[in-house]
């Protein structure tokens, strides 16, 4: 199918125009709106005590959730790519659930299990542990929403590289750990890296599930995304724009990381 030059340019213009209107214009406007009163005001706005504490809480939550999901993801991917067991299809399907479910439903689900009146609520209260309206709840919500990324990135890479080298290592007398560290891990490292970048982006950006379980206590359980909403709700529009721009910059850094990792990841495929 070879299109004439005129058709090709028309299609290109329509596609790029759609992208420009839908993606670039809004994001461009928010940068413009943020910096129209100068960089100093923006800096003041993102260094208030509430903003700084929201920033560090967001970092802390991601720093707990992402490593846990990475370990889970590698173990699960090994099982899905290499293992043979009953109910594998069911497990495979269950892993995608967090992608398909509304963040609000996820938040509600966690409240119903870990909240004061939830299934584990009594036991947790007796043990003096507060999960919902507290940091552990935010961590749980973040783990839930970013659970599938590493599994979904690593499983196809594992399938692609095959297990011949692992078997050779085993026949040469390597134990399970040695095989994993020296053979499997180096082969899947870029797949893991890609999954981790996606998980970090989702962990930092999660809003719906976190907003249900956090209780939104400023300085305590307010993450960066909740700060954006809170400031907008309190008619501090420029403050909301400033925090949103900070998040947008993190998103752009994520895109850059994705672009850099992608070709390396595809090398072993």
């Amino acid at each position: 199918m070879t299109l004439t030059r005129r058709w090709r340019i028309t299609l290109r213009a329509v596609a790029l125009g759609y992208l420009a209107l839908l993606l670039l214009a809004p994001v461009g406007v928010i940068f413009y709106r943020t910096f129209e009163h100068g960089v100093g005001a923006v800096w003041d706005s993102i260094t208030t005590p509430a903003a700084v504490s929201a920033f560090w809480l967001t970092v802390e939550v991601a720093a707990i959730a992402v490593p846990l999901n990475t370990i889970f993801g590698i173990v699960m991917a090994m099982a899905l790519a290499r293992g043979r067991f009953r109910g594998k299809w069911l497990l495979n399907a269950a892993i995608d659930l967090p992608f398909a479910i509304s963040p609000i439903v996820i938040g509600l689900a966690l409240v119903l299990v870990f909240g004061v009146n939830g299934w584990f609520g009594g036991a947790l209260a007796d043990a003096g542990i507060k999960v919902i309206f507290s940091v552990p709840g935010i961590v749980l919500a973040t783990i839930f929403v970013s659970l599938p990324f590493v599994v979904r990135e690593v499983t196809p890479v594992l399938r692609e590289v095959g297990d011949e080298q692992e078997q050779v290592a085993a026949t040469l007398g390597a134990n399970g750990w040695q095989t994993f560290w020296r053979i499997t891990l180096p082969a899947i490292r870029w797949g893991i890296a890609y999954g981790v970048v996606l998980s970090v982006a989702r962990a930092i950006g999660e809003f719906g599930a976190v907003s249900v379980v956090s209780g939104k206590i400023a300085g305590e359980t307010q993450t960066l995304t909740l700060l954006v909403e809170n400031r907008y709700g309190n008619y501090d529009v420029s403050g909301a724009y400033a925090a949103a721009t900070l998040l947008a910059l993190i998103a752009l850094a994520t895109l850059l990381a994705m672009t850099l990792i992608k070709p390396r990841r595809e090398e072993n495929e």
């Binding site: 199918m1 299609l11 290109r12 329509v14 759609y18 992208l19 993606l23 670039l24 994001v27 406007v29 928010i30 889970f72 699960m76 090994m78 099982a79 290499r82 293992g83 497990l91 269950a94 995608d96 659930l97 967090p98 992608f99 398909a100 479910i101 509304s102 963040p103 609000i104 439903v105 996820i106 938040g107 509600l108 689900a109 409240v111 119903l112 299990v113 939830g118 839930f144 659970l147 011949e164 078997q167 085993a170 134990n175 399970g176 095989t179 996606l198 982006a201 950006g205 719906g208 249900v212 960066l224 995304t225 954006v228 909403e229 724009y241 949103a244 947008a248 998103a251 994705m258 672009t259």
Partner: protein
């Protein structure tokens, strides 16, 4: 031959690896159950806490049903627009050549990387009352469609792109040499090969739109019976302590998600069979 023999020997020699693998799988499954499956079961259980009548009442009250209907309709429209626009964008990214293509390709993932609340705020900054342009669609049903289109943009593009790259161009050339026009080639050869990918991308976009919250919570204006979507309705029910009614509507959304996931798995199998059939024809 030699690989099979090797496999057999290695499998026989691998009991230690096997058992640690089984332990890992057990822990990982337990982790998945506690964090994902148990809470979802709690939603369904709570939804039916007051019996089936209460459940039915909760999901058929005027506001809830209006929100559900609106959400599903706008999500279907979103899937449809994405199926067309996403295929077009994928085609331009694969078959066309222009300066800056790599940057455009990287930007496609922006909606995945950008937090949804920021997406909502940016749309509001552009189309709100104090917006930069003179289009005031904030707090209308169009605003919800726009927000859904923003957050679901990558699904169809990223589903179609790899299929289009792999697509055998010899078939197209053969068709052209037999006198087929561009439109015929697209309709009879390119499109049938892309259909499984387009459908599964559109289904993912639909699922995402049905559950979307962050990007619409500000720009929809949340007007009951008009611009209120189901996720925002559930959120309001949680805030006003109507847990059962929140859980009932959440159960419906959960069911939609599960059905879409099952549908996509079916599509995946269909796509694989389609490919196999093509490969065999080629032989």
């Amino acid at each position: 031959m030699s690989t099979t023999a090797l496999t057999r020997r290695a499998t026989a020699r691998r009991p230690a690896w096997r058992s640690s693998g089984a332990l890992g799988l057990g822990i990982a499954t337990l982790w998945l159950s506690i964090i994902v499956l148990l809470p979802l079961a709690a939603v369904v259980a709570r939804g039916f806490d007051g019996g089936i009548d209460t459940f039915w009442h909760a999901i058929t009250n005027r506001q809830a049903i209006a929100a559900l209907r609106f959400t599903v309709l706008v999500s279907l429209l979103t899937a449809l627009v994405n199926a067309v626009a996403g295929t077009l964008i994928a085609w331009v990214l694969v078959r066309d050549r222009f300066p800056g293509k790599r940057i455009v390709n990287a930007l496609i993932d922006l909606p995945f990387a950008l937090p949804t609340i920021v997406a909502g705020l940016t749309l509001l900054a552009l189309y709100g009352d104090q917006g930069v342009v003179d289009i005031h669609i904030a707090f209308t049903q169009w605003a919800v469609l726009l927000a859904f289109l923003f957050v679901t943009l990558p699904f169809v593009v990223r589903a179609v792109q790899p299929v289009l790259i792999e697509l055998d161009r010899e078939m197209e050339q053969a068709a052209v040499s037999l006198g087929a026009g561009n439109w015929t080639v697209f309709r009879r050869i390119v499109l049938p090969n892309l259909v499984p990918a387009i459908l599964s991308g559109a289904a993912l976009a639909f699922a995402r739109a049905v559950g979307e919250f962050g990007s619409v919570v500000l720009i929809s204006g949340n007007i009951p019976l008009k611009t209120q979507v189901s996720s925002v309705y559930i959120f309001n029910q949680i805030e006003s302590d109507s847990e059962i009614s929140a859980a009932a509507v959440a159960t419906v959304l959960l069911l939609v998600s599960v059905l879409v996931l099952i549908g996509i798995r079916g599509l995946g199998r269909w796509g694989a069979r389609h490919e196999r059939a093509l490969a065999e024809d080629g032989r």
